[in-house]
């Protein structure tokens, strides 16, 4: 499988395609694009951008817990911690009257502070700073399998349950009247987003991971009025951003995650055409 891919890449007439780390990274970028764009559509609709950002930041705490427990590979502890956090936020959001962004802020501030305190013991924080910007080129073949299976899972969920998720995001009253367990689906989606974000944090970077989730969907939203076009164009924009950003980062010798984010931002700015805006020379409040 990987041999076929390497062979295919080597046939590209580009310099970057000849390196095996770039071949891996390219495949990862192609897999990560839909993995983020599909849930991203709902994250944007549900106004969960801050939630996913908080989850991304909390990855640091997951790393810290892993370090405390003495695990060499912190991914399992990161994933478990993020999913617990997603559960706690979703639960508090449902049961308490405190505004959602306040809840997320509190949980994020608390978990981040805890993570930094643990990691900065004896001045060792710099060892972990690679998580801040991520490293897409350090990806191994095993990582590719994890990403691939996660993508298959997300696509399966999207094939089976997408309509329900989208109806809930449209209006919960309608969803409930169609016998949809709103709270259950909401929880499931939050935990799934937490898993995806945390999985990819080590390659994309804590500081820019959220852009991968939000920007393609936000750009697609500016252009689409039909649901199908929204989701499909979000996936396409995400693909172009991921591949374009990766290749650009090779030539500019920059961090891949942040370069991908910049390309996605370019798409967003391009999509921000004033097509649906109300125009007139008298502006309110001026």
């Amino acid at each position: 499988m990987s041999g076929v891919w390497a062979h295919l890449c080597e046939s590209f007439p580009f310099e970057w395609a000849q390196y095996s780390f770039m071949q891996n990274a390219l495949l990862a970028a192609i897999l990560l694009a839909p993995l983020f764009a599909l849930p991203g559509c709902l994250v944007v609709n549900n106004r969960m951008a801050f939630f996913s950002d908080a989850i991304g930041h909390a990855a640091l705490t997951g790393v810290a817990i892993g370090a405390l427990a003495g695990i060499a590979q912190p991914l399992p502890s990161m994933l478990i911690f993020a999913m617990c956090l997603a559960f706690v936020i979703s639960y508090l959001r449902r049961v308490s009257a405190v505004p959602t962004d306040t809840i997320i802020s509190i949980v994020m501030a608390g978990s981040m502070a805890l993570g930094i305190v643990i990691l900065s013991r004896k001045g060792g924080f710099s060892r972990y700073s690679r998580y801040l910007i991520g490293d897409l080129l350090s990806l191994s073949a095993a990582d590719l399998y994890i990403i691939g299976f996660t993508l298959l899972f997300v696509i399966a969920v999207w094939l089976l349950l997408f309509n329900k998720f989208y109806l809930i995001s449209f209006n919960e009253t309608i969803a409930r009247s169609r016998n949809i367990n709103v709270w259950g689906y909401d929880l499931f989606f939050s935990v799934m987003v937490a898993f995806i974000v945390t999985l990819a944090v080590q390659w994309i970077g804590i500081l820019v991971i959220n852009s991968l989730l939000v920007l393609p969907a936000a750009a697609a939203r500016n252009m689409a009025s039909k649901l199908r076009i929204y989701v499909i164009s979000a996936v396409l924009i995400s693909l172009m951003s991921c591949v374009g950003g990766l290749v650009l980062s090779f030539y500019l010798a920059t961090a891949a995650g942040a370069t991908i984010a910049l390309v996605a931002l370019g798409f967003y700015i391009f999509s921000f055409v004033p097509s649906c805006r109300i125009t007139g020379d008298k502006k309110p409040g001026v």
Binding site: C41, R47, L160, N171, T173, S177, R228
Partner: protein
């Protein structure tokens, strides 16, 4: 049993032998919010093919009652639907159009998409469905909104949205259709169209329609039954009977004298001596039991 006689009369009067016997019975319904009773001891009876208008002052618990019937909020008491043919008791299928349906107007979603999300489990981000399109068109047709099929929801006007949500609530066919102030903010032409639509739906699908309205004057012309609610049912009967009811009259009378032309209706009818037109074709009982209970609470 007075109730059985009623059903026989109903069949005779309406000629709808196939139905008229299905009914939804609400017994001893109460909703408590914190330590206050939003509504209590509500006993009501909706028959299919019957258009009931719930009215009452602000904070009377009208929306709360509808939410409880729709299963949106927890309640105590019983809501049972009985089919006329099998006599089987079950939970009624509910179509509910709340007072406001907040949604994100920027979300890419057309009316057709919304129907697909509600009616089909085929993932809408990949597939279009011809059968959903057909159903949506038919359903929108009944509320004269088929031209809205491919419009984006965020770009529709209030009245258009109202019709889309109404047609959605009719799919799949409910046993009871609950409408929470659907006509607030609708213009005069829209109002007449709306009531004509409701009357047609009722005749065509034989459903119980329960609607909250503050416009006593207009709704009484179309309603089969008026329920005056203030924490509990104070009056339940034909519009003509509601007119004679003390609590109804004192409320609408008072409102009328404070704001000329405000709630309107009752006192005008009384002065001019014209009974509302609906009186001639209404056919419902005044549930006297509820009436006295209501007065006790007062």
């Amino acid at each position: 049993m007075p109730e059985e006689r009623d059903e026989e009369n109903l069949k005779k009067e309406t000629g709808r032998s196939q139905c008229g016997g299905c009914c939804t019975r609400i017994s001893n319904l109460a909703v408590t919010v914190g330590s206050t009773h939003a509504i209590e001891n509500v006993n009501l009876h909706f028959h299919c093919g019957e258009f009931t208008v719930i009215t009452g002052p602000n904070g009377a618990g009208k929306s709360t009652l509808l939410k409880a019937i729709a299963g949106e909020i927890p309640y105590t008491g019983e809501i049972l639907f009985r089919r006329f043919d099998t006599n089987e008791k079950m939970k009624p299928k509910i179509g509910y159009v709340p007072q406001n349906m907040p949604f994100d107007p920027g979300a890419p979603l057309t009316v057709e998409d919304l129907f697909a999300l509600c009616l089909s489990s085929r993932p809408r981000w990949l597939f279009r469905s011809r059968s959903v399109r057909k159903t949506a068109l038919e359903s929108l047709g009944t509320v004269e909104a088929s031209h809205l099929l491919s419009r984006k929801l965020g770009c529709l006007s209030g009245g258009e949205l109202q019709r889309v949500f109404l047609s959605l609530a009719l799919n799949p066919r409910p046993d009871i259709l609950l409408l929470d102030e659907p006509v607030s903010g609708v213009d005069a032409a829209g109002l007449n169209l709306f009531y004509a639509m409701i009357s047609e739906l009722r005749a065509k699908y034989d459903l119980s329609i329960v609607m909250i309205s503050h416009d006593f004057h207009l709704s009484a012309r179309y309603a089969d039954r008026i329920v005056f609610l203030n924490k509990t049912v104070l009056c339940s009967g034909t519009p003509a009977e509601a007119l004679k009811n003390e609590s109804v009259n004192s409320f609408f009378g008072a409102a009328d004298s404070r704001t000329p032309g405000g709630y309107g209706g009752i006192s005008h009818h009384c002065k001019s001596g014209n009974p509302p037109p609906a009186a001639s074709r209404t056919r419902r009982i005044n549930e006297a039991g509820e009436n006295t209970r209501g007065k006790d609470h007062n």
